[in-house]
Subunit: 447 residues, 4 copies
């Protein structure tokens, strides 16, 4: 999927590169080198062994095709790499490679490095998206449009207010991801079962030093049977996917042929259909929905794989070791696609006005109710309007007329005030203030 | 399921009660009363209206059976309740009830109250479980047992170390839940679409005051289309479920007829089977696995329901409004069952010793390897032991003999040192130190 | 959720009753009675014991509240029921109760009885829904409306054709469920591990006779560790949920304020909002989406619970024993709600015409392309129209003009023919024929 | 994941090749050629156009790297391929390419071809696995071992019986997949919205002819908004995953260091650990668990993607178009790995006997109960044995002694008969007969 000639362009090419074979191998080698270096500093292995190991820790010395065959034969993902690494280092230094560590230590720590880089991509695109949205919200802080609930017009609001809701949710998504990155992906050097058994009592110090060299936190109790930390970050990715799909879904609807309030960027050469020449599909928004589903749909796999037998369980780590690259690429692609989508949004305020006016005032029923509460109870006003609205629905007459002709409306003195209340631009509540606040809350974060 | 005569006992009765019809109704009434009280303080409605509303806000004045019928007819979950409430309040106070709020505001805020109470139950049971585990870990900080990876003996460790891993994960689970509770479930008073349109420009203040009266945080931008905050807490519940299932799975295995290292509490009168009299099943652990799956299995529904149309969408809120009670009861029951399980655990150190000895020293292969690295490289030692272990597997001879008879072992001077390295009690690494640290980290939290 | 005063009306009351405590208990008793009766016929137990057992196999002799307490103490779901049953039968007949069976045999077979009854409800509502849809499709076989893809107008079609697609999918759903019911829920009498060990070599015959008495198929190899058969029916429920959600989603969209092509039934007294009097929400369609999600969302739990340890595993059967009642009620409620939705649908052909006309002919671009292929290649025609459509999008001029003024159109002789091709009622393809065929395929099944 | 140098060997290389870029492109071209050929036969397009199209329908004429760039620019997955194809065909034949079809028609029909080939691989490996299992079952039809429920010894059985359970489930899995393949993946040629609008009233005939040329069934009503058919096959894959994971889980447990009843194939050069030389992990079984999870975990995505807007919805088809290749490769790999696993299984009957004997007769409690029912009621016998078993559990004395010394056992005349009943090899029920029947049912299918 990520490499297919058909769908490759859906995905962030930077993220794909961060998880390529050579990047993965390099991350392993970096971790082995950091381990040797830390052990040399602490005095567990000779300093020149560490130096040799560091000098050979370069993916260009390895042939991944050959390794693929050896891995298949050994049915072990790291030992063939170590054999090659050993022969690069030569005796006696080869003997100090991978000292006291277990395979999963290397993989988990290398993955932490790759996730950190992927997070940087993701966060940058999210910040870009938020900045673009903040500009749009500011520009349209007073542009009136229909607010909708349950698929029907509800109350007027402004486009700024709508975007403010997106912004707030995205802001929380990014905060969560930022906060969880470091604790979710620590350096682990506990050895076969996490007891540091092969580190001569200095394992904790080795782990801390490796972590510091690689810019990570140490795992502390380096259990291979615990995945809750990574799963917590993955959970935050699921929330990001939810937000992205919500925004994309809104765009798809607002671009509907009948609605036409927003449209996504179009360029000459973009094709909507192999057969229908008129088509301008919201293809970026639809793709974003798809990517969000792919991302969110993989999260239960991660949650299930938290459940691990005993002190280590490859039936679970096989799943998560291959899931994290997928999640990383998908998440970065969600952020990238979201950023592209929102940067290209075109607003059609005239369509917003047309749609607001389409119901002859019904969208302002609550405004009238609040006006009527000056002379009657909220519940009586609601009943009156329920009946008046029904007449408008059934007979097609204007809502103002239906109200004024309702017997209970006799108590109400001013048709003018009602007509004002029925003006669809007027009942936007705190839309503007809420927009401004959301924009100002987000803006420092977005820069 | 929660009320069935067959399975009722699986679930926390306190949690079931917190989400009963009358508790739910009472929570709605409490929110309506707090809203009226806040609006009176701010001057939006008369003080005596608020007082009357407060005095009638008692579920005992309402007949939920009658309401159920009216709700079915109106196809609206709150309006019939409001009608009854209005007739209890009488004119003119009835007119100030539910002023400027929308149904979902009441529901979301009431749910926040119920979740907060459920969280207290859950947290208390988790702390209890952690305390019991901390005691067990302390008592068995040095009790040796086999560490296992991929379903096979790996290295020796202590029971304390194993439990330390459980403790750390539970500690993180509880921290996450504690930290997310308040921000995940704020008070929302934004009205129909979140613009505070019917609060005369003072909606933000009303919301803040309602929140403060109810011990909640205000929502800020009170979007009904955002569910990321609640979903974040729900995600943390999924992690708790993962931890609980991991622990329960370990217990089920360690109680296996052939393993016998742990067993769960048994009382006379507990029945294992309607037909096999000998059965002592780990039924609490198996139930815990089941509850954890039920909890975890509902999380994708919550994630999917983050995706909401426009400014409000009952196709999603229908799901989450009914999901939260289920998640609450399940989570409290997971915590309660976990607490019961770990309090009743019986340890069989003699079985642990027997199992450690069962492989004639193979479990200590790494210990020997680290010993041999004093005279050869790590990789050469690994190769030697690979061949010796294979001979022991195939011919059934002792591992010590296989090693000593291996040609490459000639270089190694001391059979005694090897025999020592092969003693299964000796190679427990930092088990004890890691146990002590985990216990001390957890203990303050657990009290 | 199923019993809450707020949401009870969402669910089929018949289905709720089929899975009530007393129905469940009665199903257990029926299975025990059938077992005794079969064993008496075969000569394994005395005939008068079977007669006594049958005479006491009535839920009214049992107190489910008392049983709930005993079950909690024994931590076993059936043994307390058997104790009460034994004391009802008296000596010596009590000794022949539950002879050679294990608890899970009784539960699985009883569940089969309850599922069969639930299926009948579900199938009846589905057939009702299909009949209503077939009528609607017939009535609107020629009513033109916009076909839409990717959220944009694509080609014209008829409402009949749209409904034909719903019908075909529903028809397949029902066929699948009908075909899988019997094999998915057989009678199982294999005893503790499925070997019929306690049936003296006649277990297979006992099982076949029990099955025949209860109207079920025998399990054959009655493994308690196999759940694939039930899971297959559950999978078909997930497909039904998918279809229902698709239809409901279409209705929600077609009732959108801006679209207005369909609306769901409205009655005076139905309330859309506690605050917005004008609201007529598609609440049945939205509820159907919710129910479908709840149903579909539980399916992964069933799939996961296929994976069972050894010969029996309560960590899985706890989940599926409680899941099947939920799935049953949800599925029956999906079918009932779908039936209610489609019976109440109101069609607005004038809105369909209005929307068809809204794009000045663009929706017929393909029709023009096929017309132009009479004088040029399909790909050249596509290119011409791509450019013409873009001009219409950008400049707002009519599509006919854009085409005629395009240089490549010079080759095309007849503006009249193009104008005809651009008439949105004319390019409906085989809509009518496909409608008629779908209706005729479904109709016999629907009766 | 599928191409990574680390994990590539997990996956069926044949399946990977069936879904490679060039195979996918070739399948598209084959469908276009079949369409042209069918249209020529029916007279819709010139015969020489179809001949030219067929002659150019070869992936080797296309440069997928170049296409990848053009697709990214057009944001359309097929149009760039068509452009290249047109230029290969030249005028005027190019104009008859893709005549009346829409992109999704080509994709769905091509996918059907690829799924059919993948199914053949999968079915062949499943048949191979079943044959190997049938041999093993036959060989061990009488080999006694412990049957286990809820993680504890339950009753004796034979290995043959255990395998018979696996076989039956696999047999049903394969039957389901075989039966669903053709109806689930038909040829679809309905055009943009499924009305055959651009086929001049002969679309149905074109579709039928295309289907027949490609060895597929015609879709009938070729809705792009229906995915239930494919989802039904995918559901059957989920069941296969469940079966595979169940079998693999059993193997992992039976190979546990303490249990040792089965072990999977080992070869010199297979590495268990980078640090623990003794390790012989059940790595194939653990991998099978992982693959099964990856397969099963993707199924909810397919179910969710059944829900499609209107007449076509790329937010869903993007997901399923990329999901089907993944599911295909995973399913083939599950079958291949299962086949490898079961072919390599080594049985240790002596460990089975040792484990059977480990509980001093407790495993035969039911046998004694059935023996005692000759002189007392089933329930009295159960009570007696409950107490005797408890004494054995607590005091460690033999079960026979506990029983004989129980006061109620005085009525029972023969210690010999009890001792016989306690012989763990004797109470295997119908294990042998059920094994033979399962083997004979499967065998014709397996050949």
């Amino acid at each position: 999927m990520f490499n297919s000639f058909v769908t490759r362009y859906w995905f962030s090419s930077e993220a794909r590169s961060l998880w390529s074979d050579s990047s993965t191998l390099q991350a392993w080698l970096d971790v082995e080198a950091a381990l040797a270096s830390a052990q040399a500093e602490i005095g567990l292995i000779p300093a020149d062994a560490a130096a040799t190991i560091a000098s050979k820790a370069d993916a260009k010395f390895f042939d991944t095709e050959a390794l693929a065959h050896e891995i298949a034969f050994a049915q072990h993902p790291l030992v063939p790499v170590l054999h090659r690494f050993e022969s690069l280092c030569g005796e006696p230094h080869a003997g100090y490679l991978h000292f006291g560590a277990t395979t999963q230590n290397i993989f988990d720590t290398a993955t932490a490095l790759q996730v950190r880089r992927t997070h940087a991509l993701l966060a940058s695109d999210l910040r870009g998206a938020m900045e673009a949205l903040a500009q749009l919200a500011r520009a349209h802080r007073e542009t009136p449009m229909a607010g909708r609930t349950h698929g029907q017009h509800a109350l007027p609001m402004t486009l700024g207010f709508k975007i403010a809701g997106w912004l707030e949710e995205l802001g929380r998504d990014l905060e969560r991801l930022d906060a969880r990155l470091a604790p979710s992906f620590p350096a682990c050097m506990g050895g076969a079962i996490g007891t540091f058994a092969a580190m001569g009592g200095q394992g904790r110090e080795v782990e801390a030093l490796v972590a510091s060299k690689l810019g990570l936190e140490p795992a502390g109790l380096p259990s291979r049977a615990s995945f809750d930390r990574a799963a917590d970050y993955i959970g935050a990715l699921a929330l990001l996917a939810g937000t992205a799909q919500k925004i994309a879904g809104d765009v798809v609807f607002l671009q509907r042929t009948e609605v036409g309030e927003l449209s996504e960027a179009f360029h000459v050469g973009k094709v909507g259909s192999s057969t229908m020449a008129q088509k301008r599909n919201p293809s970026t928004a639809l793709l974003l929905v798809s990517l969000a589903r792919m991302l969110r749909g993989r999260v239960p796999l991660a949650l299930e794989a938290m459940v691990r037998m005993d002190e280590g369980d490859s039936s679970a780590t096989n799943v998560t070791d291959t899931l994290l690259p997928e999640l990383g690429i998908l998440a970065a692609s969600v952020a990238q696609t979201l950023s592209r989508l929102v940067r290209g949004l075109v607003v059609h305020p005239e369509a917003m006005r047309r749609n607001l006016a389409a119901t002859q005032g019904l969208i302002n029923a609550e405004a009238v109710m609040m006006e009527l509460t000056k002379v009657m109870g909220r519940h009586e006003a609601h009943k009156l309007l329920l009946e008046a609205a029904q007449r408008t629905h059934t007979e097609g007459c204007s809502f103002l007329a239906s109200i004024m002709e309702h017997p209970s409306a006799a108590a109400y003195p001013s048709a003018n005030r009602l007509a004002e209340a029925l003006d669809p631009g007027t009942y936007i509540g705190d839309s503007v203030r809420l927009t401004d606040e959301a924009v100002s809350r987000i803006s420092p974060r977005a820069r």
